[in-house]
């Protein structure tokens, strides 16, 4: 299963390079940034979920002592209806701008309307209350099926459904319809001995990063704009701000500070252009911070959805056909992750006959943003629950039915492409032989469930520069913001090439003026693609060092080899010099050595996970407690296993929160009534057992060390695994998320 390649650094567990800064409080996150003359900005947000903005009067706010500037949508350049590719996929600029500041309509409670810069944050907050906005309140549309009704109130007059390339005549809240079809589903269902069809509903959930959004901007008189901020991608901030403000990218420098979590939620910009506008207006640096409520109400959650899944199988457990209907809430503007949801839903299985329909639907909620394997968890909740039911009806072990149908290299995905080398079967087999799966499970109200999941992972552009130091160490310059230990997983790949310890690499994440273009830390791509760039940069260093050794010994480069950290001459004169010693002789052999590596790799390897969970259901309260959790995942190759385990554990726990507690609760007016960490209940450590992360390694042929992405797929299986465990415990199929105590009590007929 695991390729037995010998590595010296890859696969070890060094202390992370930024560790000391982070345990001593010295690491500087976005909100920690200080600069002389700083003003503080705050944003006024719409109190209504759906309202026409009739007028905005900022004069009373501007008159408050300490207020230095107020901005609204009128300060933004007029945006065209244009699709731009801004590093996180295609974005309609008009929508992007309207989400920064509502222009004609406020489309969700919390939609930014205006912003104030003042000498301190309290004055800025007070000034926000002095801005007079006249609204014409409109009825809100808060649920995807309601929004799809022909007589539903419309959010946008100009959105007409595009379906298979055709655009409808009449406006609608359904922005688009996609379909994937494989084989003959009708024939497949006719061949089935058992067909099961179920409906599922999932709630709106938030990424829940602990650090709120932040941005400090300064606009020089010459038009040079600098933004210090927490972001998943400094270059995507630069691109988005450039488009929104119609300002050249060469005049924008984005300085990525340390980032306190993102999970996909810190790719879109919200207050970065606002800080820039306020800085321009006041001539001073302006820091804008969000409150926790701003984060819940004004930034991208991941969508609520309605899903219908139908699957048919023979008595032997072979799936003959599968059908899915996915309707996702995009929030206020089109762009839900229904596309990836539709592409992932049946991807673990080799099914000949499949039809999948996906709908992207606008509703009066914040515009959704990516969240860890966006779209896939919603979809897997449906498909993995139905498959469990089929296994149960047929009397087949749930892991066995997955093995019977498991996709492998050469099989075709429902959306078309054939699978390259993948490790799904390996995860199921590892789960099957895990002591958790074979442990006894039979007590009253105790249950065990399993589920699997798939996520693509992506490649995209990365750049790395390596500067060689005289003492045999290297400085590694990269553009991937480090959210979970990637300084180390990237540094280790360069260290492996140069045969130096991980500690001999000093990695730095730098600003957009100081490194080549690097796409976002997202899509599980950082250790894969930026690690690949580091590998290439280290290879470049190695080549150049061989040239220097050849020069030193006056031999041909082809006579110099590098092994075990030592350069040696293999023909004629016998010479040897260590990497470290040669680093000390760079000046006399031609000057400093700088290596560079840039990639846009096309070989990202898909990731699979299979999870096992034991729960106990409290019959009195409806509370579900997770007793034991095992998460098996194919990492391709774990560069730093501790941080791979960390990704698996963290993703699984976010999934547990999504399964059991987390949801946006709305009243009829479209106000979120639980916009705090007290009421939006994320898992605490008291809610959880240890999470056993099991790494399976099926190397990805598209990476020199076999790396697949690891960050996203662990959030895909937990919801279905827990639903299946609840069924095992109490014999009730839960089809609505979260499976909170009140929903369980209702399902059990207690309330």
């Amino acid at each position: 299963m695991t390729e037995n390649k010998e590595y010296k650094v890859v696969g070890t567990r060094p202390i992370r390079h930024d560790g000391v800064d982070k345990v001593t409080g010295r690491a500087l996150y976005g909100a920690d940034f200080q600069i002389a003359g700083l003003l503080h900005g705050r944003v006024l947000r719409s109190p209504h979920a759906h309202a026409r903005i009739l007028s905005i009067d900022t004069s009373r706010a501007e008159a408050l002592p300490g207020v230095k500037g107020v901005v609204t949508a009128a300060d933004l350049p007029t945006a065209e209806d244009r699709i731009a590719d801004l590093g996180e996929g295609a974005v309609n600029l008009k929508y992007l701008c309207d989400n920064i500041f509502a222009s004609d309509k406020a489309l969700y409670k919390g939609h930014a309307v205006a912003a104030v810069a003042a000498t301190n944050p309290h004055i800025a907050e007070e000034a926000c209350t002095l801005i007079d906005v006249e609204y014409e309140v409109l009825p809100p549309v808060l649920e995807v099926r309601q929004a799809m009704e022909p007589d539903a109130p419309l959010l946008h007059e100009n959105i007409k459904t595009t379906s298979m390339g055709e655009t409808a005549e009449e406006p609608s809240n359904v922005a688009s319809h996609i379909q994937h079809k494989l084989g003959d589903p009708e024939k497949g269902f006719a061949e089935a001995d058992i067909v099961i069809e179920r409906d599922f509903v999932t709630g709106t959930v938030h990424q829940g990063y602990i650090e709120p959004h932040n941005a400090t901007a300064h606009f020089n008189q010459d038009g040079q704009l600098t933004i210090w901020c927490s972001t998943q991608g400094a270059f995507t901030v630069r691109e988005q701000v450039a488009e929104i403000l119609q300002h050249p990218i060469s005049k924008i420098k984005v300085v990525p500070m340390e980032i306190g979590g993102g999970f996909g939620g810190k790719i879109s910009v919200y207050i970065k252009p606002v800080a820039a506008l306020l800085a321009k207006k006041t001539g001073k640096p302006v820091k804008v911070l969000m409150s926790r409520t701003d984060v819940f109400e004004g930034t991208g959650p991941t969508p609520a959805s309605y899903i219908r899944v139908k699957m048919g199988a023979t008595k032997a457990g072979k799936i003959t056909a599968a059908e899915a209907y996915l309707a996702f809430e995009a929030g206020a503007y089109p762009g839900s992750p229904v596309g990836p949801g539709a592409m992932c839903i049946f991807a673990p299985y080799n099914i000949e006959n499949v039809i999948i329909d996906g709908y992207d639907v606008v509703v009066n909620k914040p515009k959704t943003a990516p969240y860890r394997a966006p779209g896939a968890p919603n979809a897997a909740f449906g498909s993995e629950t139905v498959l469990d039911e089929i296994a149960e009806e047929l009397g087949i072990d749930p892991l066995e039915i997955r093995l019977i149908n498991a996709a492998k290299e050469g099989d075709r995905r429902a959306d078309g492409p054939i699978h390259p080398r993948i490790g799904f079967i390996e995860t199921v087999e590892a789960a099957k032989s895990h002591p958790h799966y074979t442990a006894p499970n039979g007590k009253k109200h105790h249950g065990r469930g399993i589920a699997s999941g798939y996520w693509f992972n992506i490649g995209l552009e990365s750049s790395v520069t390596i500067n060689v130091n005289a003492d045999g160490t290297i400085n590694l310059i990269e553009g991937s913001t480090d959210i979970g230990g990637t300084r180390s997983s990237i540094a280790m790949q360069a260290a492996e090439v140069l045969d130096i310890p991980a500690e001999s690499v000093n990695p730095s994440v730098v600003d957009t003026n100081s490194v080549g273009y690097t796409a976002v830390t997202g899509g599980s791509r950082t250790t894969y693609a930026t690690g690949y760039a580091a590998y290439e940069a280290a290879q470049d260093v190695k080549r150049k060092m061989i040239e220097r050794a050849a020069k030193l010994w006056e031999v041909d480069e082809s006579n110099v080899q590098f092994a075990d950290g030592v350069f040696s001459s293999i023909n004629g004169k016998e010479e040897q010099i260590s990497f470290r010693d040669l680093c000390g002789r760079l000046g006399e052999t031609g000057g400093p050595v700088v290596g560079s590596g840039t990639v846009n790799p096309g070989g990202a390897g898909g990731a699979y996970a299979t999870h096992i969970v034991d729960v106990v259901v409290d019959e009195e309260t409806g509370k579900v407690e997770v007793l034991r959790y095992t998460a098996v995942q194919d990492a391709g190759k774990a560069i730093h296993p501790s941080y791979v385990e960390g990704q698996i554990q963290g993703g699984a726990v976010q999934g547990i929160g999504w399964a059991l507690n987390e949801e946006y609760i709305y009243n009829d007016e479209g106000e979120m009534t639980n916009a705090s960490f007290l009421d939006y209940r994320m898992p605490t450590c008291l809610d959880l057992p240890m999470i056993d992360a099991v790494i399976v390694e099926v190397p990805n042929p598209g990476h020199p060390y076999g790396v697949r992405g690891v960050g996203e797929v662990p959030i895909v299986p937990p919801m279905a695994a827990i639903a299946n465990a609840i069924y095992d415990a109490i014999g009730i199929r839960m089809t609505e998320l979260p499976m909170s105590p009140n929903r369980l009590l209702k399902a059990m007929g207690k309330i």
Binding site: I83, K181, F263, G264, G265, G339, P417, I483, G709
Partner: protein, 80 residues
């Protein structure tokens, strides 16, 4: 795109690069180019898979004789 191919799920066209493949698709199925290209670039939001592997998303991508190409919506994501 099936509506442009008259319902065909899979079609075979010549071409040594994705650019040539799209041009040849357009010749046979008018309207295809508008779906896949914007000027001399791949349209934003379109992803190209060649033999099952997601490519870097360029019309310059080289294509072998029997290669299987898929045009799909691009994806994006987020980890920690």
């Amino acid at each position: 795109m099936r509506n442009l191919t008259g319902g065909e799920e899979s079609v075979t066209v010549p071409g040594a690069t994705v650019r040539e493949v799209i041009d040849n698709l357009e010749n046979r199925y008018p309207g295809m180019k508008a779906r896949l290209r914007e000027g001399d670039r791949l349209k934003p939001g379109v992803a190209v898979y060649i033999n099952g592997l997601l490519t870097r998303g360029s019309i310059l991508e080289r294509v072998d004789a029997d290669a299987e190409i898929h045009f799909l919506p691009a994806i994006s994501g987020g980890t920690t």
